[in-house]
């Protein structure tokens, strides 16, 4: 394959897509788990058997996971139709009734992506005004829309235009300036301003520099990053190339958890395609810039999401954190300046460069700009992925988009996973920003949003998270190792109805020690779920103390 020049890239982008009837099937891990491959095969067979001129293609996950397998039918000149929960039999029925018979199969019809969300592409530069779709998709704009394994389809959606700009008219200064104006903050949890991290790494002294994509996605119950890597891997890769260019790195590393085989496969494919087209390797797009990427796999250790532990893991060692400073931006992989960014952070970069930092800054509120992707799961009616402008309220996410509780009522929402906190239903009007969530004793986190209904016990969920942190503690420092186990023991006592007031006080005391003295954020934040549960549901704890009422009757 010939290496592309900037001009070739534009030609490829403008190459008009043949307009014909297309059936798209969501083939990400979740779709496949729900049986999408059977529907995909049945559609293909049926189209072939009937000799129809229809293309049956693969797309990523549109985020409507509770309705997988999803099949979208696009007939030129007609509104697009989305079908949900499609079995192989349903697939044949869709061909017979809709594509041959011209009648929509109403019983299977669900909302289309465009009814749910405005996707940033072309003129879609802003979220919809009130009354329109609540979601606005920057990170997920191609998810469920393009074939993630097609380089051409990514390019046709303005793919690699930002790299072209950087290598022709741009400079690392210009990129950092746009990131600064955009106000983009890290989506991996801590919310550190991205432009500062890029600038610090760029200016640090070293023999070589590295950029790492953190795709460890450790929060159990969250899968935003998997979905983006599976649904639009080139967007993340483009972010990596831009990062590499900005800081002057020659090598980028994707650190992906081993539990995500399909994400690994799609990133591998994207890297190969980019190499073949001259977007990775020597002299990218004919410029003087050379950069390549490789993949390293995690091996089932939550703590390896922490950046210093991640670096140790990439070096082939046990993943134990080390004290910071020095920060990785100064002394990281192989002791060289290293920039670690989350998948979602990287997926935003090209759009910011293409549309300008001011465009991004206009979305969201205050110091929380742009959008955030959440995996809304648990006891919610429509579990799935949601991308909303910052400042959208929890109520809009859980009730309007998520449909509320599947049964009963919403009792609480947990954000930030094992490092976050529970937010009770009466605070659902809180807007989602880094600051608001922190004020409530939770965090933005990487995007997990677990919905609990009134039959769930907050004491049990707090115990679940604490147990998780104790299991995943690397054991290096005493406050986390010993404190975690102590808290766990006390909580167990309370849950079994054997605790008293002194135990509640003990929980607070140990929590404080852990927060103050733990070496890394795993230990520092491990008490959060317990503390927030005690803060917002004191009665539920008391009822356990008195050994009387069952937990859920509060």
């Amino acid at each position: 394959m010939p290496k592309l020049t900037p001009k070739d890239l534009d030609v490829l982008r403008a190459k008009s897509v043949v307009i014909k009837t297309t059936i798209s099937v969501g083939l990400s891990s979740c779709g496949i788990a729900a049986g999408a491959e059977a529907a995909f095969a049945a559609l293909g067979e049926e189209v072939k058997a009937r000799g129809l001129d229809i293309s049956v293609r693969r797309v990523g996950c549109a985020g409507m996971c509770s309705m997988e397998p999803l099949v979208e039918v696009a007939v030129p000149g007609q509104p697009t139709v989305m079908y949900g929960n499609v079995t192989a039999d349903d697939a044949r029925k869709i061909i017979a009734e809709h594509l041959v018979g011209g009648k929509i199969v109403k019983a299977l019809q669900v909302q289309t992506v465009n009814e749910l969300a405005v996707c940033a592409f072309g003129d879609n530069s802003k979220p919809a005004p009130a009354g329109g779709p609540k979601q606005y998709r920057i990170v997920m704009r191609n998810c469920g829309v393009i074939d993630p394994e097609s380089f051409d389809e990514y390019v046709a959606r303005d793919g690699y235009q930002a790299v072209k700009f950087a290598l022709t008219d741009g400079s690392s200064d210009a990129i950092i300036e746009q990131l600064r104006i955009s106000g983009l903050r890290g989506r991996g949890g801590a919310g550190f301003p991205t432009h500062m991290k890029w600038d610090l790494t760029r200016k640090a002294v070293g023999e070589e520099r590295f950029i790492i994509c953190n795709a460890d996605e450790g929060d159990p119950g969250a899968y935003m990053d998997r979905s983006v890597l599976e649904g639009d891997p080139h967007a993340v890769l483009e972010g990596m190339i831009l990062g590499g260019f900005t800081i002057g790195a020659k090598l980028g590393i994707f650190y992906i958890r081993a539990e995500y085989p399909l994400a690994i496969e799609r990133v591998e494919k994207a890297i190969k395609q980019a190499r073949a087209n001259g977007l990775l390797g020597q002299n990218i797009l004919g410029s003087t810039f050379s950069f390549d990427c490789e993949i390293r796999l995690g091996a089932g250790a939550f703590v390896c999401g922490e950046e210093t532990a991640l670096i140790a893991s990439v070096e082939g060692k046990r993943g134990t954190p080390r004290p910071r400073p020095p920060f990785p931006s100064v002394k990281g992989l192989w002791d060289q300046p290293t920039m670690i960014n989350n998948v979602e952070t990287l997926a935003n970069i090209a759009q910011i460069i293409n549309r300008g930092g001011a465009w991004f800054a206009a979305i969201g509120i205050g110091k929380s700009t742009g959008t955030k992707v959440f995996a809304v799961t648990g006891k919610v009616k429509y579990s799935g992925l949601v991308e909303i402008p910052m400042g959208t309220t929890l109520r809009e996410i859980v009730m309007d988009i998520g449909g509320g509780a599947a049964e009963g009522n919403v009792k609480a929402v947990q954000t930030g996973g094992p490092s976050g906190g529970m937010i009770p239903a009466n605070l659902l009007d809180t807007p989602v920003t880094y600051e608001h969530l922190q004020q409530l004793g939770s965090i933005m986190g990487s995007g997990g949003m677990i919905v609990m209904d009134d039959r769930d016990s907050v004491v049990d969920l707090a115990r679940f998270y604490l147990e998780f942190c104790v299991d995943e503690s690397c054991g290096k420092c005493a406050p986390c190792r010993i404190g975690g186990t102590q808290m766990q023991r006390v909580l167990e006592k309370i849950a079994e109805g054997k605790g008293d007031d002194t135990d509640v006080a003990a929980l607070r005391r140990i929590a404080q020690a852990m927060q103050k003295a733990s070496l890394c954020a795993l230990g520092q934040t491990a008490p959060n779920p317990v503390l927030s549960a005690m803060k917002y549901f004191p009665k539920e704890f008391e009822s356990r103390l008195k050994k009387s009422t069952p937990a859920a009757a509060v």
Partner: protein
């Protein structure tokens, strides 16, 4: 409930050509910090990290055997013993936990008479927890080798799992 094939790497039985280890060593030897990647290849080839393999691999990679064990014991993903022919993984992530994973695990433990992390004496079934396979929208999920059982009710789990039994060849 639905049962489907996934792309999850399935444990392959031993009996691989003898040069598999050299191939793995050759692939990773000159790459900085690639021990974990080499061990992933080992586990994919043998289903676990057998002691003989670790002993042979270490000198070829130029690392002490102790380094291999240091790493293998730290990371949950690596197994030191051969799992059963059917590896049942119960997702214990938060979404699955809220939707009945603990009861699912209980039922499987009772049915097979083993705890999580153990293998049945006939080596046919291995039961383990996983942390979340990223299909939380379809919770609760259980995988059996490369097959995935999604949206399963605790009462149906034993039937769903045993239906995936494949008889031994030969």
């Amino acid at each position: 409930m639905s049962t489907t094939e996934t792309k999850a790497p399935a444990a392959k039985p031993a009996g691989t050509p003898p040069d598999a280890i050299s191939l793995i060593a050759k692939r990773w030897k000159n790459k900085r910090g690639s021990l974990i990647m080499a061990l992933h290849d080992v586990q994919e080839t043998f289903g676990y990290v057998p002691r003989e393999v670790a002993l042979k691999l270490a000198p070829q990679l130029g690392v002490p055997v102790a380094r291999i064990y240091e790493v293998v014991t730290f990371y949950n993903y690596f197994k030191l013993e051969a799992p059963g022919r059917h590896v049942i993984s119960v997702c214990m992530g938060t979404a699955c936990y809220l939707k009945g994973a603990p009861e699912i695990k209980e039922r499987l433990m009772a049915h097979f008479g083993i705890k999580s992390g153990e293998t049945t004496p006939d080596k046919e079934w291995h039961l383990q927890d996983v942390r979340c396979i990223g299909c939380c929208g379809l919770a609760p999920v259980v995988t059996v080798n490369s097959k995935i059982i999604a949206k399963v009710k605790p009462a149906d789990i034993v039937t769903a799992v045993t239906a995936l039994y494949t008889p031994k060849e030969g």
